[in-house]
Amino acid sequence: MDATQLLKGVLDVAVLAVVEGEDGYGYDVVRRLRAAGLEEVGDASVYGTLRRLYSAGALTSYVVPSEEGPHRKYYGITPQGRSMLATQRKTWAEFARTMDRLLEGVAV
């Protein structure tokens, strides 16, 4: 089973969780996801996800000019994003428990 396939379904909640901790710009979010263990995550997937969550109203964005290079676009979580994250956390926890039980049962 390909981890990147699994990742697609949960990237939204992963990104929301990262941004909830602290506002971040595109590559910063990528870096934090990879540091958390999602090493296979693709840059473009994360950037696209950020953009989609922003369009859905889950994130805000603001531009921070940079002295030594091009400006950065930061994303922060909105109240709507927080409630979305809360819902998805619950969904994921239940789903994970179900899967764990299922997989352990099969394995035993």
Binding site: Y27, A44, S45, R52, V63
Partner: protein, 357 residues
Amino acid sequence: MNATTLPAEIIAFAAAVRASLRDLPADEVEELTDGLEADLAEAYAEDLARELPDPAAYAAELRGAAGLPTPEPVVKQGRLRPIVDGFAETLRDLDRSLRKSPVVAGVLDFLVTLQPAWWIVRGWAAYQVLGGIFGFEGDLLPTHPGYWILMLVLVAGSVAVGLRRWRPWVHALIIVGNIVAAIATLAAMASIPTNAEVWQAWQEADQTYYDDSMAAGPDGTGVWLNGSEVTNIHAYDAKGQPLNGVQLFDQDGKPLATSVPGGNGCLVPSPVDEDGCQTFGAWVPTQLETGATVWNVYPMKMAESTEDEPTTPIAGAVPQDRPAPFVKVPALMRAEPVDADAPKVADPAKKEAEKTP
């Protein structure tokens, strides 16, 4: 935004990603790719060995993750498209693998800064190619103001082409054009004579001049006596009387022709100027019974001609005898009879041998 700190390939990559998204509304593309350069630059700075992915695939991933519609699958027009794409892909791969070495990457970056100079050379090369095709101006630089304008227009066009980013198939055409221009430039460079070649040409010109000035006549014939041109020959028989119609040959049997048909074409020398000529004259050849015209029958006669065409007798001119240097010369000590049935002259050496027992 200060873009000068960005590597050129990141700018190019971001531009290619935006190009792949061009079917989306402009503001959507802007939202989606805003800050892309900063992210890429940071990722790149963090890991120098990192390879930039295929911009189209990257754009597709971006688009998919953002939940945006994928474009209608573009029907690849023509059979050339895969070739063009493959060519572009090969170039990108080559560039990526070459840039793994920092030295090569540095050289490539340096070469990129020389690009504008190439655009100018390319315009000039286009002028040379056009000049070659239409047959005007074979020189390295135009000599006519109109051609200068044409060349400058071509140079400006080449620079304009270089400044824009083109679609792949146009880009492929430009690459082909570049190859043609490079060949034309090399060919033009090869046609510039080296110093040695110029020197050689001068030497040959000198030699030719020397040879020409030494040549007796237009047909290259001539008889010389102590550095002076022999223009006519006067023969005298054994009794010292002038002979007419003497046919002369050299040791190989070749006709002994003097300065003909040009040569010293003066019928009457100028009475005042030693080197001048009052009446011009053309040497007149002699007809043999075979019908051949020969120039080795002496003394040769001369017919009046003009200064403009000294070698062509004027119409109706009568061939005239040339004054002989001597009316008569001393006879030989023992004039031999010329009769055919006369006894053969004995060989003096044989006579000597007969005397000796």
